[in-house]
Point group: C2
Chain length 270, copies 2
C-alpha cells in the first residue's frame, strides 16, 4: 500500500471532473489538485509554452510527494506527457491514451471525429494513438477554441453555441463519423448542442471517465492503493484566486472547497 496523495492538474477548473471520477473510484485516496488559473487557457498557446507550464506544476506536485500524476488537461497531455514521463520517475497519466482507447472500442465504421483545442489538434497526439490502436481508423479533427470560452462563460446551450457548433462540426459531419471524441475537459458541458448537431447515430466519448479507471488499475497492479478507514483528504491549489472555483467544485464535487494560492516560481526550470 502507498498512502501518498495522487496529484491531478489542469489549466484551470475543468479538471475537477477528473477529480470527481477519482473520488468516486478511489474514495480513500488523498488528492492534491493544481489549477493554473493565472495562465489559462493553455489551448491557444504554443506547445513549448504549455510544456514549460506543465513541468513547473509537475515539479510542484512531486515536491508535495505524490505517488502518481494525472494530467486532466488534453492540451497539457499533448504538449508534455512523453517528455515528462521520460524525465521524471513518478508515473504520469494523461487523458489522451484513455480517450483514444475508448473511441477505438466505440467506433464501428472506423471513422472518428475529434474536437479539441488548437494545441491538441496541432500536436497530432490523438491521431497517432488511434493509428497505433487500429490502423484502419481515420480521424477528422477540428480545433474549437470558442467552445472552451463558451463553457467557461457558462454558455452551454443557447443559439450562439448552436451556431458555433454548426460551423465547427461541418467537416466532421461530412466525414460520416460514428464516434466523436470530446478532446477537451470543458466540452462535455456542451454535449447537448453538440449531440443535436451531430445527430443520434454519433456516440460522444469523454476521455476523463476512462483516465481515472486507468490510474486505479495501475495503482492496484503495483500494490499502491491507499489503505485507510476514512475518505482521503483533498487539497486544492490555484495559481490565481478565482470566483469560479468554489462554484465549479459545488457542481462537479457536490461540495465547496477553498483553494490555496500557490507560487510556482521556485519550480521554474529557467
Amino acid at each position: 500500500m502507498d498512502n501518498r496523495p495522487i496529484g491531478i492538474f489542469d489549466s484551470g477548473v475543468g479538471g475537477l471532473t477528473v477529480v470527481k471520477q477519482v473520488i468516486s473510484l478511489m474514495p480513500q485516496e488523498d488528492i492534491i489538485y493544481f489549477g493554473d488559473t493565472a495562465r489559462l487557457p493553455y489551448g491557444t498557446k504554443p506547445q513549448e509554452t504549455v510544456r514549460i507550464f506543465s513541468e513547473e506544476i509537475t515539479r510542484f506536485l512531486i515536491h508535495h510527494d505524490v505517488k502518481t500524476i494525472l494530467i486532466a488537461c488534453n492540451t497539457a497531455t499533448a504538449a508534455s506527457l512523453p517528455y515528462l514521463n521520460e524525465k521524471y520517475d513518478v508515473p504520469i497519466f494523461g487523458v489522451i491514451a484513455s480517450g483514444a482507447e475508448e473511441a477505438q472500442k466505440t467506433t464501428k465504421n472506423h471513422r472518428v471525429g475529434l474536437i479539441a483545442t488548437e494545441g491538441t489538434v496541432r500536436s497530432g497526439a490523438y491521431v497517432r494513438k488511434l493509428a497505433q490502436l487500429d490502423e484502419r481508423i481515420t480521424v477528422t479533427a477540428q480545433g474549437c477554441p470558442l467552445f472552451v470560452s463558451m463553457a467557461e462563460a457558462g454558455w452551454v446551450d443557447n443559439p450562439a453555441v448552436e451556431e458555433a457548433a454548426k460551423i465547427y462540426l461541418k467537416e466532421i459531419q461530412a466525414a460520416g463519423v460514428d464516434t466523436l471524441i470530446l478532446g477537451c475537459t470543458h466540452f462535455p458541458l456542451l454535449a447537448k448542442p453538440i449531440s443535436r448537431v451531430m445527430g443520434d447515430g454519433v456516440t460522444l466519448v469523454d476521455p476523463a471517465l476512462a483516465t481515472a479507471q486507468k490510474a486505479k488499475d495501475y495503482l492496484k497492479a503495483h500494490n499502491a492503493l491507499a489503505v485507510r478507514e476514512t475518505t482521503g483528504r483533498r487539497t486544492f491549489y490555484v495559481s490565481a484566486m478565482t470566483d469560479d472555483f468554489s462554484h465549479l467544485c459545488q457542481i462537479a464535487l457536490g461540495q465547496s472547497y477553498k483553494p490555496e494560492v500557490a507560487d510556482l516560481s521556485q519550480f521554474s526550470q529557467k
Copy 2:
C-alpha cells in the same frame, strides 16, 4: 526633447492597434511594446492578479528606460492605473479616461453603453470616470468575454457572432443608449455585427484612438517629444512566442515584426 522610447503594453497582441495610432501621430518616436501572450487573457482574471502582471511589465519597461507608458489594455488599465501612477514616477496613461472623454463628447441623450471584459466592468472604472465628466450620464455595462475569444479566433462576422451580439447587447439596447464604448482592445474588430445589432442611431467609440493623442499632447506640453531625422525604432517583446503576432502586425501595422521573448521573473515583486 526626450529621445527615450515610449513603452506600450497589452495582455497580448490587441494593443498593436494602439501602436498603430502612436506611429501615425508620432512617427519619430522609438517604441517598446510588451504583449503578455503567456498569461492572456486578462479580462476573466481577478483584479489583483492583473495588477501584479501589470506591475511586472511596468518594471520591465522602466528597466528599458521608457519616458512614458501607455496601457493599451482596458482590463489592465482598470486594475492597475491609479496604483501604478502612485507608485512609479514615469507618467502612465490608460485607455479608459480617453474612452470616457470621447463618449461624453459623443452622447446627446446622456445614455452610454459599455461593452468590455468582466474585469473592466466589475472595476467600475468607466462608470466613475463618466460620472466625473458629467453626472447626468447613465451607463449600462455588459461583460462580453466571448467577444474577446471570437476576435482572437478570427470570428469577426458570422452567425455565431451575431447571435452572441444579440444576447450580449439586449439590455444595452433596452436602455436606449446613443453611444456605445468598445471597452476592450479587441472589440473594434467586431464593429460590423455590433453595429448591425445596435442600429444606425448608435455611435461606437474606440478608446484606443484617443489615447495616442493624449500621450502626444502630454509629451508636447512637457517638451518631451523625440527629435530625429528618421522614423523611430520599434521593438516588440512577448512572454511566449505566438504565430498570431506577425500576422496581426501585418494587419495592424502593414509590416511584419519578429518579437523577442522576454522573461519577466526578475521584475516580480513577490
